[in-house]
């Protein structure tokens, strides 16, 4: 429980500015793949009361949530505003809440049903992906969704790693791998697919151990998730990871590590869609290499995420890759410190 105490203490010290209601936290259009075709991914982050767990070491999304519980009308206002921003003819919709879409305390059944009903009616929408913690993935909740939404539906869960030890010691996620696989099985029975988010390099891991963890995690998660999205740990304000970064106790992962994991993971699991959006790539607070090659490597990762072709990585080279290889080899033997900024 000590991580929970620490995370709570850090959260308690943050000054949170309130954002206007009636607007989602963020809306943007990215790229994704549907039936092997590239398709615009319309992402909405709703401003809800936030994640009920709220104890993870790397997560700062809580500061995006609303200060007060959001009424049905508030949330529908957010929904309407969001959908008015959509400019594409065919989209998949990704719903985030900085918490769990299936948690009634964030989004009531009534609201959820209304949103899904409207999305079902919206011809542009080809698929919906909604993020949630596994404990809210119950047969009842899913039935509620599938009853009103007949198109492809996917639950996305932040598994982070297949290692229960790392999830507990380094992330403080509060659930186990088997919680995730049960939820995935429940979803499967309802005809709902699963997407798993993994986390490259949670705090305390050396670069080499982090890579090892991700390669394992992809292999162990692939049977339960058609899509695996690997987040590259970045420094979000007001988190334990942020505190560690400021104290020079933590360095975000190298982009080379992400490339290595994606190549390995894809080779072993060719039928799984493996992707990564290198948020904050190239900055000190995001995944980075030497500064010279970051842009190119991040772009290759983005291209791979759409094409699933590891060939995009084959011509990537920078002198810093040699350094990265040494770091991967030796950082484990620094027993807690990172070797290179």
């Amino acid at each position: 429980m000590s991580l929970t105490t620490v995370v709570r203490e850090i959260r308690g010290r943050q000054k949170v500015s309130s954002s206007p209601t009636g607007r989602p936290t963020a809306v943007w259009t990215g790229k994704d793949v549907l039936d092997l075709e590239e398709i615009p991914a319309f992402t909405i982050i709703f401003q809800t009361s936030g994640c009920r767990w709220n104890n993870c070491t790397m997560c700062g999304y809580v500061y995006d949530s609303a200060q007060t519980p959001q009424s049905h009308d508030d949330l529908m206002k957010q929904f309407e505003y969001a959908m008015s921003q959509c400019r594409d003819d065919e989209i998949i919709v990704k719903i985030f809440t900085s918490g769990s879409f299936l948690d009634d305390s964030e989004i009531s059944s009534k609201t959820r049903i209304e949103m899904l009903t409207r999305l079902d009616a919206d011809e542009r929408v080809k698929k919906v992906i909604a993020e949630t913690r596994p404990e809210y993935v119950t047969p009842d909740k899913l039935s509620e969704c599938t009853t009103v939404f007949g198109k492809p539906f996917e639950v996305a869960m932040g598994l982070e790693t297949s290692s229960d030890m790392i999830r507990k010691d380094c992330i403080n996620k509060g659930f186990t791998f088997s919680d995730f696989t049960s939820s995935s099985d429940i979803a499967k029975k309802k005809g709902i697919s699963t997407k798993a988010y993994l986390l490259l390099k949670p705090p305390f891991l050396s670069e080499g151990t982090a890579i090892y963890d991700m390669v394992n995690s992809i292999n162990e998660t692939a049977p339960y998730a058609g899509t695996i999205s690997m987040n590259l740990c970045n420094i979000q304000r007001g988190t334990l990871v942020d505190e560690m970064f400021e104290r020079r106790d933590y360095r975000p992962p190298w982009l080379w590590s992400a490339v290595y994991v994606l190549e390995k993971g894809k080779a072993s699991n060719p039928d799984t869609i493996i992707l990564s959006d290198p948020v904050g790539a190239g900055s000190k607070r995001g995944p980075h290499n030497c500064g010279k090659c970051d842009k190119d490597v991040a772009e290759a990762i983005r291209i791979f995420s759409v094409t699933q072709d590891t060939g995009v990585f084959s011509n990537l080279y920078c002198e810093c890759k040699e350094l990265w290889e040494k770091v991967v080899e030796l950082e484990e033997f620094a027993y807690g410190s990172y070797l290179v900024k």
């Binding site: 000590s2 991580l3 105490t5 620490v6 290692s163 030890m165 790392i166 010691d169 380094c170 305390f204 891991l205 050396s206 080499g208 151990t209 090892y212 963890d213 560690m244 104290r247 020079r248 106790d249 933590y250 002198e319 040699e322 350094l323 040494k326 770091v327 080899e329 030796l330 484990e332 033997f333 620094a334 027993y335 807690g336 410190s337 990172y338 070797l339 290179v340």
Partner: protein
Amino acid sequence: MTNIFEVTHRDAAARIGKLSLDGGLSTPAIIQPWKKDGFIVDSGSLWGKTAIPEKTQEKIIILPHKSAPLHTREEIVKGLADSVSSDETLLNTDELEAHTGLVVHPLYQQLPESDLYVLGAAKQLENNPRAFVDSIINIRENTKSGSILYVPSLSKPENLAMIVYIGADLVDDTLPVIKGYQDIYLTTSGEFHLDRMHEFPCPCDVCSAAVPEKLLKLPKKQRAELLSRHNSFALSSELSAVREQVRAGSLREYVERQCRTRPWLTAVLRLLDSEYSFIEKRTPVFRSATLYANTSESMNRVEIKRFAERVLERYTPPDLDTLVLLPCSAKKPYSVSLSHQKFINALGKYRKFVHEVIITSPMGIVPRELELMYPAAHYDTPVTGDWDAEERAWVGGCLKSYLQKNKYTNIIAHVEGAYREICESVEEETGIGFVYTVDDGVLARTSLNNLKDAVFGLDNGKKRSGDETKLDIMRVAADYQFGKGAGRMLVPGDGIVRAPYPKYQLFSEKKQLATLIPQYGTLALTIEGGMMLRDWQGYSVTIGDFIPRSTILAPGVIEADPQIRPNDEVIVKGDKIFGVGRAAMSGWEMKESARGVAVELRHSKKIG
């Protein structure tokens, strides 16, 4: 915990040891725990792949760990440590019968007994002198001296001397390798970026085969490998240099210069000096090398502080009315210098009536009887005539404390310049009046005449004969070595000193009791001398029911005076023998060590 490590040389916290695994490894050493065929094998992080090698007899296995960075909060570090100790998959490591190593967090340490301790997150101790000093002292002070300390991922040629000085036994070349991959060239005087270098100041195969410009044009991989090779070479070459300094007893002098490469290293030296007892309890009572007091930190050396402390606490001045304060001389012992010969001539027949004390930086004050005692005759210091404020305060403080404790009727100060200014400030602080005898240079005829005049007519006061003075030299040496009062016990009423100065020998009824070793100024006892001190409480080592040969090993020691320091003269008491010898390690270390020579026995006789 097994006995695989033996310390063979000690110089304060630094040590040279022998790791008796698979042919043996001499420490301090550079290891590579990532190589599975080495002596020290890491079984890995519990968050990653852990593998305990199968053949473990000839290896030290670093047990699986969860290592946290330096500033990780205490409750998190403890939580991780608890989860490791309760991990069921690790329970069978007890059955390994292997030599084991534990990773220890630098700030929040848990130190169960182990062969080896790995200082976790040590890399972050660079530029963090306080945490560096505290973490290592805490490990050293709370684990057995026979355990090995591995400081990983911190060593570079510039800081290796300090890492050894504070007591590390094992280091690695992680940073030299990594720096090579960052185009950084390492030397003992710091880091250089390859693209700003014009020539290589190193004779290694990499440097002699190329110039920086040429190296820069090589493909990255090749360049990095070459630079890493040089950097690792520079580290191992520095290690050899440092090991030689330990053997020669001159590591302190080396560290005083080497620490100037980085402010944090200089800070480490100062912080370590403030941890007096940690260093003192490991510092030999004498060294064979000259003590060079070249820096402002030299004044804080254990040898200097210890001498001053013992002059105050263990030294008893002769019962005389007049004190003559004299300046030090470059030549040692002072009394053989030209200047002191002139002072002595000036005192003439009145010398018997005065007590001579020499004022000196950085020693403070040296009573004439102790002028041979290490390090009074074994130091050298730059002399410019200018004394800085710290020197003045230190020397003045020594003189003041001495005069507050020891009373004289007359004080004659035959000093000039800074010496005189120090005397004047002591006069002012204590209210004790001095007579100054120097006009224009301490050796000027008028000055010497003034000295002569000042002592003229003292012959109606207390005096000390030449023979008595010689006995006093033996007495104060015994007091200095064994504690106040030991001299009276050792030197009997009928004692007599033979042989010319300084090779004094103490006799009683034709039996020799002790010899003054001119090289160090210390007394070496004979069996008879030891017998005189058999009821003395300090500096004795009790051994068990066996007859030792020339050495007594630590496991044979039952009891040892914790005051004993390396090179101390000790009395050995056993069921079957009584003997005298020289300590090879500190008393506290004799008691806890499982290996190594505790005492070099000089003389012994069977008893019982």
